[in-house]
Amino acid sequence: MLTKRIIPCLDVRDGRVVKGVRFQNLRDAGDPAELAYEYEQQGADELVILDVSATNEGRLAMLETVQQVRNQIAVPLTVGGGIRSVDAARELLRAGADKVSVNTAAVHRPELIQEISNEFGAQCTVVAVDAKRILSTGGWGVFSSSGTRDERKDALQWCHQAQQLGAGEILLTSMDRDGTRTGFDCELLSAAATVVEIPVIASGGANSVRDMLDAFASGAHAVLAASIFHDGCMTVAQVKSELNKNRIPVRQ
């Protein structure tokens, strides 16, 4: 049986880890390579690095960051942010990523998922979906460009389409919960887990082990968290030990 995965997420801007609330008000949270090393020691099952800088300087810094992090860790590394082509994906993979995560560019040109999946395999292709509750419909909409742009697209349909195009995993972030520490959007998770067979990674809102138990009960294969680990509220090891007591299979 596969264990449930705990994935610390490093949002990186210009070579530094940052964290905000609902994608806004970013503050410094440390050095990527140092944090990555620390999280692997604590028992992190994977790491995700998301490039949240928009500049070209930021892109180059990102390749360096990926190299430095790879140098430090021997667990899977997913890298996302601004990937618009197979070549961009290849560059990050060469720098040390094991998987790439696409978001905005794939929303605008869904074939990108297919291109990356055909070239590097589904196991390498993560589609990140930033979803926000739409009060008028009761569903969830897709937002792109770091959550600034309403794509007028149904999030669940998009998850399904991504799977059909060759995605190996869906990294599903609730924009309503991101950085708020009010728990995952479990309704969103269970709805997504019923429309796709590939693993869904829960993201946005983690505050406690209880939240993670709820996410797993809602069908998530893995949970992603940033704030609670960066702020030192909990270590990955503590989280896993608590999950284990609650009969969730984790690697320890």
Partner: protein
């Protein structure tokens, strides 16, 4: 001076992780596309991600199929990872009609439909008795990323077993040849013990 280890450049996506894993153990990894290197080098790594047909066509294009087979037949140090393990087999359900290197007399099958693929994540593996005794491995958690697997235990080979929709071969080993279905380079300290043990036990 650190010892060179040759990694066959099959165009695999995450080659950097593989290189770093060997650097951490004090080796100097060198990517190669030369069949002569595969024949002569002291230690060779066959990584692989992608389809069975693409992996075999890569080996054929590099003129390496016989060189890889010969390393197994002559018991020379070879470490295969993921698709690398499958390529040594006879055939795969993934690519009907494609012949594998064929030195390990089993066929590769798809996971049963009741489990989701690709299988992505950490799963416990357990070396079987002879394997454990000889290589001093204990059980542990390893990272997998695969949609196909070897189910039948190849005769004459020692194995480690895992379970995902039924038991399957997580690794097989004989003499100086070790093949892992999981990714030791991504399996943290536990994975590193596999690389290290192989590098210490083989000669």
């Amino acid at each position: 001076m650190s010892e060179v280890i040759h990694i066959i450049d099959t165009g695999v996506a995450n080659i950097s992780s593989m290189q770093h894993a060997w650097i951490r153990l004090g080796f100097e990894p060198m990517l190669t596309t030369s069949a002569a290197d595969v024949e002569k080098a002291k230690r060779v790594v066959l990584p692989g991600v992608g389809s069975f047909a693409a992996g075999m066509s890569c080996l054929r294009n590099l003129g390496m199929v016989d060189a890889v087979a010969e390393r197994v037949e002559k018991n020379r140090p070879l470490f295969c990872v993921c698709l690398g393990l499958q390529l040594l087999c006879k055939s795969s359900e993934e690519s009907p009609g494609t012949t594998g290197v064929g030195v390990v007399p089993v066929d590769v099958k798809r996971f049963p439909t009741e489990v989701s693929v690709p299988k992505l994540g950490w799963n416990r593996i357990q070396p079987q008795l002879t394997f454990e005794e000889q290589m001093q491995f204990s059980g542990g958690y390893a990272y997998f990323a695969n949609s196909y697997r070897v189910e039948a235990i190849p005769s004459d080979w020692s194995t480690a077993i895992s379970n995902y929709g039924g038991e399957f071969v997580a690794a097989y080993w004989k003499g100086n040849v070790l093949a892992c279905q999981f990714h030791p380079e991504l399996s943290s300290r536990y994975g590193q013990t596999w690389l290290q043990t192989w590098s210490e036990f083989t000669c």
